[in-house]
Amino acid sequence: MSNKILEVQDLTIDIPTPSGTLHAVQSVSIHVDRGETLCIVGESGCGKSLTSLAIMDLLPRKAVRKATRLELAGESVFDIGERRMSDIRGDRMSMIFQEPMTSLNPAYTIGDQLTEALRRHKKVSRREARDRAVFLLEKVGITAAASRLGQYPHQLSGGLRQRVMIAMALMCGPDLIIADEPTTALDVTIQAQILHLLAELQREFNMGLILITHDLGVVARIADRVAVMYAGQIVETGTAKQIFKNPAHPYTRGLLACIPIPGQTARGAHLGAIPGIVPSLVGRMPGCHFASRCSEVRDNCTTAPIPQFEGAEPGRSVRCLLADEATGREPAREGAA
């Protein structure tokens, strides 16, 4: 597909620790099309943030990144050197972080921080950069945009700062935006606005968007496709509709059972909870990572690695033996999100 903005195949991240190697991300494969929103869902520590940092090549120094393919618009961006990578970062793909309060440099004005990326990547005058910054600040819903340029981050609220971060990510007109829990640190009312804004901008500029979140409510609202991550692996992929209507992996089902649905969940009824804790990722684990918490676990779940099974519908895949039996298909090649 020529429409593919991002293609990641078999991304693996190992982090050496004193007690052994931490296999933080294990053979993750995802792709994003132009104009598409992919949500990566999972609980804290499942490797979703590391995955996004790995795509940007912004991992901590000690983390070891491997992949068979990492392509941006058909062009490999894996291990191309810091110089060439920095040409791409902020220009063709940019990132929005979780913490708007600390993600802006306190010592420089909003205007300075907005324009510097554009002036780094494109040959534009100070004036043009400034105009673009004002244009985008207005786009992200900031009033009196021109006067904001002279303000410092500490003079803005968290919601405003996150809008500034979004505007900053858009400065060079990137093909792909990775938003790592962009609404987690914000008030609930602001969360909805920011999400709405992201979805709108993504449509308007026809970008690929990877949204990383642990909030299934967010996923339901804006995802085209979903990749569910658990303990360093993608356990299920599919369109948002498929995942919500017909979750195939026991973990996905467990996650969905945790959300109350107005009108359906009875008042006073217990919400679902997944028993147990996330396994340690230090050292190799044979079999299914979710086995220790799974209510449908069987003997053969824990003996051999579980491959990613292609689902009945295209674009669907599940890393579960039960689901495979249900569809009666042969295992597909490792990972195809």
Partner: protein, 305 residues
């Protein structure tokens, strides 16, 4: 910014007033100044005479007010030993000490800040260890001993640099190194700690995610934030160096304020010592004020406070 500067200036003036009171009361540190001034074997009548001439019989607050008004007009009293005006002697010596202090601080910062930055970027590497060793040695070595070692090697054995006096800028090299080296460890370690903290901060990740060049990330985004505590520390250390200049100037026979302070202590020249303490203190306060202003410029959040 102007409001911030005025506020800081107000505080500086208040501190200066307090210091002036302390340095004024120095005359009373060693008992009755009239007795001291009249000298050994003076009669009661002589002492009373001195007391009247110098106005020591008046209430102390009046004496202070009188002294302060005259000090503000540049009249710091009269040295009985040198038989001359204190202010003219002090201000004649002041530039030498300032030059020494400034070059020592410059030496310290030029050595310490790059070392600190490199040590932070390459934390726990060989360079970091070497820098740490330099820091530990610097902290542990008394400056007078270091000064004498410098003299021995560069002055006497190798005859590379002049040992005493202030004839040319060459004369300032060894004293500046001896004085500045003492400050280097603290500045270096603080720069390293600041850089380490800033480099792991979210906004540095943002800067990198924007694709900024590594040098831009390092110097524009990281150093500016990491340097803020270093500015405050440098002002404080400069104060220590003024004190240290008493030793260094004595060793290198530099005719500065520090040397004058040492001489005046030996001669029990009270008005002179009083003036030197006052000048050193005011200078120190001025530096702190400037450091505050610089920090206000570097970090907009400080301006509001």
């Amino acid at each position: 910014m102007i409001q911030f500067a005025l506020k800081r200036l107000g505080i500086a003036i208040l501190v200066a007033l307090t210091v002036s009171m302390l340095s004024f009361s120095m005359i009373y540190l060693s008992g009755d100044p009239a007795v001291a001034l009249a000298g050994e074997g003076a009669s009661q009548e002589d002492i009373e005479n001195v007391r009247r001439v110098y106005g020591f019989e008046r209430p102390i607050i009046v004496q202070y007010g009188d002294w302060l008004v005259r000090a503000l007009q540049g009249d710091l009293g009269h040295s009985n030993y040198l038989k001359s005006d204190v202010a003219s002697v002090v201000f004649e010596r002041l530039p030498t000490t300032m030059l020494l202090g400034a070059s020592a601080l410059a030496f310290a910062l030029i050595l310490a800040i790059p070392l600190g930055v490199v040590a932070a970027i390459r934390a726990n590497s060989m360079i970091d260890r070497v820098a740490l060793t330099i820091a530990v040695i610097g902290q542990a070595m008394p400056s007078f001993w270091f000064a004498l070692t410098l003299i021995l090697w560069f002055g006497i054995n190798w005859r590379m640099l002049p040992i005493t006096g202030t004839a040319s800028w060459l004369n300032f090299i060894m004293p500046s190194i001896a004085l500045g080296y003492y400050v280097t460890p603290a500045v270096m370690r603080l720069t390293r700690a600041g850089m380490l903290e800033v480099l792991s901060s979210d906004y540095i990740r943002t800067a990198r995610a924007k694709g900024l060049r590594p040098m831009t990330v390092l110097f524009k985004h990281a150093l500016r934030n990491a340097i803020i505590p270093v500015v405050s520390l440098s002002a404080v250390q400069f104060g220590f160096m003024l004190g240290g200049s008493i030793v260094i100037e004595t060793i290198f026979a530099i005719n500065g304020l520090g040397f004058l302070a040492w001489e005046s202590i030996q001669r029990a020249d009270l008005p002179m010592m009083q003036a030197i303490v006052l000048v050193f203190s005011v200078f120190y306060i001025l530096l702190t004020f400037l450091a505050d202003l610089l920090n206000g410029f570097l970090d907009p959040r400080i301006r509001v406070a």
